[in-house]
């Protein structure tokens, strides 16, 4: 069991002005699942880039031993030749190519005369798909698959390269619970076949469920490596390593005292923008001032679609139903009208829909409510900076200046910028779509604290989340959504993960 496949010794990697890694050591045993955790910016991804040759040899100090031999990777091809394959958080598949074409991209199965032998490629792809438990035709374009299945294609691609050490960066970040569970099962199966896995993850419950050992990284240093089998390692124990001390509770306490109703929708129905099907059907829900209402649903249940259609009809067509804000019916046909009516929607995909990544913090914060800073079309730039500065203070956005480009901030800080932007519109209702996706534990806690502060100030908050513990920890009341319909509503006191999951999957069979 003490057979070490990989040893990284005293790895130090500096960027101009920043030391990303300092004297990091990592030792991975053959055939284990080794989790790496740490907050965003702790250096996990940098370490993996060093390992996979993205940061080539010479650009860092320290040595890497693979199979007991020192190795020097000049690029990702070198590491792949040794059987080290990394699967990035943002999947690197070409959407319009088929599964087989993607699997063998850059590694084509050549036949006579150097031409690609498609029969062989497709047959091999079918075998690989079988081994990852994906039942799809290899000629299917990748774009037709969901994120979960795309993840499996990535793993099949890794297998095609005769992978011996598979590195997964946040493999389940974009997956729903069922797909996540499937992926974890697959990782176990791969381990049994002798493939070593390194998994970077924020989801501590997954780590405790699957990992054999866990290395915790903090601020570019190795904190500790925990043997998950020998000791009784709890999530709290890992968190202590990540943040340096215990946190009393994952979710901050809050006094709940809902006031009058702020937003109500009745019989809300939305058709898919191009396909002929209903995405949201006959949904009714309400939220009161000082209340956090959760929407639980699997991927594809219509959560985001519901939220965006309410937010100025920014999704779907043939939208019908009635929308009331503070008891008054409103017809918000554009995003601008929705904002004017006090509705704010914080997107689940901040990089694509939430931020102008090439612009600075200041202008991102002001983007949704420039009219509050302008007179007759002229923006008061100084006032704008003042607003951004106060957001930075109140939200604890870690940046050297409000003039810093948003794209360079960490995920948690970017999320705080998006929140600042919407708070500056002074909304009555905030719809938060996956507000803590892809951000570290510390920043999550800060986001929860911010939500509580908003609720205390009388705002109404709707939280959409894939993480049931988050909903149970934050909400006063939870609706479940399945196949575009509300399948249940309960106060948080009566809800459990099991009861919610049952309602979330309820309509699936019925409709599907």
């Amino acid at each position: 069991m003490d057979d070490t496949i990989l040893e990284m010794r005293r790895i130090t990697k500096t960027f101009p002005g920043v030391t990303a890694l300092e004297d990091v050591t990592l030792s991975v045993r053959r055939g284990e699942i080794h989790a790496i955790c740490g907050e965003n910016g702790a250096g996990k991804s940098t370490l993996m880039k060093v390992l996979s040759g993205v940061h080539p040899t010479g650009s860092y100090d320290g040595e890497i031993l693979f199979d007991g031999k020192p190795v020097q990777f000049r690029g990702i091809r070198d590491s792949e030749a040794n059987g080290i394959v990394i699967i990035h958080q943002e999947l690197a598949l070409v959407p319009y190519l088929s599964i087989a074409e993607n699997i063998f991209l850059g590694n084509e199965r050549r036949g006579r005369g150097g031409l690609i032998d498609w029969n062989r490629a497709n047959a091999e792809a079918a075998q690989l798909l079988e081994s990852v438990g994906l039942h799809e035709n290899p000629v299917t374009p990748v774009i037709q698959l969901g994120v979960g299945k795309q993840q499996l294609v990535e793993i099949a691609k890794a297998l095609s390269k005769k992978v011996r050490l598979l590195i997964l960066d946040e493999p389940t970040a974009a997956l729903n619970d069922i797909d996540s569970a499937h992926l974890l099962d697959l990782l176990r199966a791969l381990r049994d076949q002798g493939i070593t896995c390194i998994m970077i993850s924020h989801k501590l419950n997954e780590i405790t469920a699957i990992a054999d050992s866990t290395t915790v990284i903090r601020d570019g240093h190795t904190v500790e490596t925990l043997d998950m089998l020998a000791d009784e390692v709890t999530q709290q124990r890992i968190i202590r390593g990540m943040v340096g001390r215990d946190i009393d509770s994952f979710y901050p306490d809050r006094e709940s005292s809902p006031g009058e109703e702020v937003l109500r929708i009745e019989d809300w129905t939305v058709r898919h923008p191009v396909q002929d099907r209903m995405v949201v059907e006959g949904v009714g829900l309400s939220v009161r001032a000082g209340e956090v209402v959760g929407i639980a649903g699997l991927m594809g249940a219509g959560r985001t679609e519901l939220a965006m259609s309410v937010f100025g009809r920014s999704y779907g067509r043939d939208i019908s139903g009635r929308l009331f804000v503070r008891g008054r019916e409103v017809h918000a046909r554009t995003v601008a009208e929705a904002i004017d009516n006090g509705i704010a929607y914080v997107t689940e995909d901040r990089k694509r829909y939430g931020l102008n990544l090439i612009d600075d913090v200041r202008r991102n914060v002001s983007a949704a409510a420039l009219d509050r800073l302008s007179r007759l079309g002229w923006v008061n730039g100084n006032e704008e900076i003042k607003v951004a500065e106060s957001s930075r203070r109140e939200m604890n956005i870690r940046t050297t200046s409000v003039m810093a480009v948003v794209g360079k901030l960490s995920g948690g800080n970017q999320q705080k910028v998006v929140l600042s932007k919407w708070l500056f519109t002074d909304p009555d209702v905030l719809i938060l779509d996956e507000p803590t996706r892809g951000i570290d534990v510390g920043a999550k806690y800060e986001i929860y604290t911010i939500i509580n502060r908003l609720v205390a100030a009388g705002k109404a908050v709707i939280v959409i989340s894939s993480e049931l513990p988050e909903l149970l920890g934050m909400c006063d009341r939870i609706y479940t959504l399945a196949a575009g319909r509300i399948t249940g509503e309960m106060p948080v006191g009566e809800a459990t993960q099991e009861s919610l999951m049952e309602l979330m999957t309820k309509d699936k069979e019925l409709v599907g």
Binding site: G41, A42, G312, V335, A368, L370, S374, G377, N382, I385
Partner: protein, 416 residues
């Protein structure tokens, strides 16, 4: 780094937030300032180097009073086009039709004024109306029909060139009456007299410097009041003096030639107005937001279609202004007028630091980019360099400028 706080504990000030009060002292670190703004300052440096180079190669002829006047007259319409073009490029679009629109607006004006004998200002107004209509046409297809600007304006390039030929009935028209010619070839001279030079031009130059200094100072005061970082006072003075010296030298040279060209007044007014429009207005912000991230802008309540539409209307308007200037300068309308102007305008915008992907660029940058092209062309003409070599050099400069920009971005991206 991140620390976890229980709700009861006070939120500490982040350690990296410098107290705003400390920023008053400002920074005198010129090197840091230059490096931080390499993207912008790079092109200024390039312009200075190119001017110096050609001044040397032409034994100072480049900077002679007569030649400076020439550069202004010769390239003003490209600079006008570059203003509209850089705004479109910031918004993530492009306009390939401006050369044809320059021709069409000039042709309409020529037909009215030369053929039909209407007064000169009727021609100008008609040209502007046609330009705005063309812009609205493009704007409709891009903003409301959702056709990419590249296609719409490529079609426009053919369409409006064809219309130009029809309007002109395939022949050239000339000459314009003297009043019309004044737009591009006219000078304000001798209004205040002077001894061998035009005092009025110097006065305008001095007013421009004073305006620059006062507005700079007011901005500085406002920024200090809002507790924001400013450059140190000596550096501020040095900047004003340097810019002032350049403007006064320029005015001095013009004053010793034919005086203040009217096109320069038009151009200066446009640069001022559009500089403010892009930096200080809601509309300008929305253009940057759309170019930076279209979806995020739409979900922030920006009326994307409206903004796109007006960007194109504006380009049509500026193309018409350029059309009037060009027809006035060439004293007539020709079927082939304005050919390839779009490429010069696009090159000016990109040399001036606009990003191919949108969301980045400035009006002033595009002007500097246009001037780099202008000085190079003019310098090479003075040296008697072959037309073909000129083309090769200009092509390489465009490529190097964008390559530098891409390199710069990659460097910035990996720095943190």
């Amino acid at each position: 780094m991140t620390s976890i706080k229980t709700p009861s504990t006070e939120r500490p000030t982040p350690s990296d937030s410098t107290p705003a009060a400390a920023l008053h002292t400002g920074t005198s670190d010129l090197r840091a300032l230059v490096l931080n703004n390499l993207r912008q300052s790079g092109i200024y440096v390039a312009l200075v180097v190119i001017v110096a180079l050609f001044a040397l190669l032409t034994d100072g002829v480049l900077l002679s009073p007569g030649n400076i006047t020439n550069i202004v007259l010769q390239y003003s319409y490209i600079l006008v086009l570059a203003i509209g073009m850089v705004i479109l490029i910031i918004g993530g679009h492009i306009d390939l039709s401006v050369g044809s629109v320059v021709a069409l607006t000039g042709a309409v004006s020529a037909v009215l004024v030369i053929q039909q004998g209407h007064p000169w200002w009727i021609g100008v107004v008609a040209a502007l109306v046609v330009g705005v209509a063309v812009g609205a046409w493009h704007g409709f297809w891009v903003a409301y029909a959702g056709i990419p600007a590249f296609i719409v304006t490529l079609a426009g390039m053919l369409l409006f060139r064809g219309l130009t030929l029809q309007v002109l009935d395939n022949i050239s028209l000339s000459p314009f009456p003297a009043e019309y010619q004044k737009v591009a070839a006219g000078f304000l001279n001798g209004l205040l007299g002077g001894n061998g030079f035009d005092a009025f031009t110097l006065l305008i130059g001095a007013l421009a410097v004073a305006g620059y200094a006062v507005s700079g100072f007011r901005t500085r005061v406002a920024r200090i009041r809002y507790q924001q970082p400013v450059e140190s006072f000596p550096l501020f003075v040095a900047r004003v003096v340097a810019v002032g010296a350049v403007i006064m030298y320029f005015a001095w040279q013009l004053a010793h030639a034919r005086g203040l060209p009217i096109v320069l007044i038009i151009l200066a007014a446009l640069v001022l107005v559009y500089g403010l429009l892009t930096r200080r207005t809601v509309f300008g912000r929305q253009v940057y937001a759309i170019g930076g991230n279209l979806s995020a802008a739409a979900l922030s309540g920006v009326k994307v279609r409206t903004v796109n539409f007006w960007m194109f209307v504006n380009m049509g308007f500026l193309a018409a202004v350029a059309g009037v200037i060009y027809s006035s300068r060439s004293n007539g309308a020709q079927p082939a007028a304005g050919n390839m102007f779009e490429l010069d305008a696009i090159a000016a915008a990109f040399i001036g630091g606009a990003a191919v992907t949108g969301g980045v660029g400035t009006v002033v940058g595009a002007m500097v980019g246009g001037l780099i092209m202008a000085v190079m062309s003019n310098g090479m003409q003075l040296m008697g360099v072959d037309q073909s070599t000129q083309s090769v050099v200009k092509g390489l400069v465009l490529l190097v400028a964008v390559a530098f920009d891409v390199y710069n971005k990659r460097r910035a991206g990996s720095a943190r």
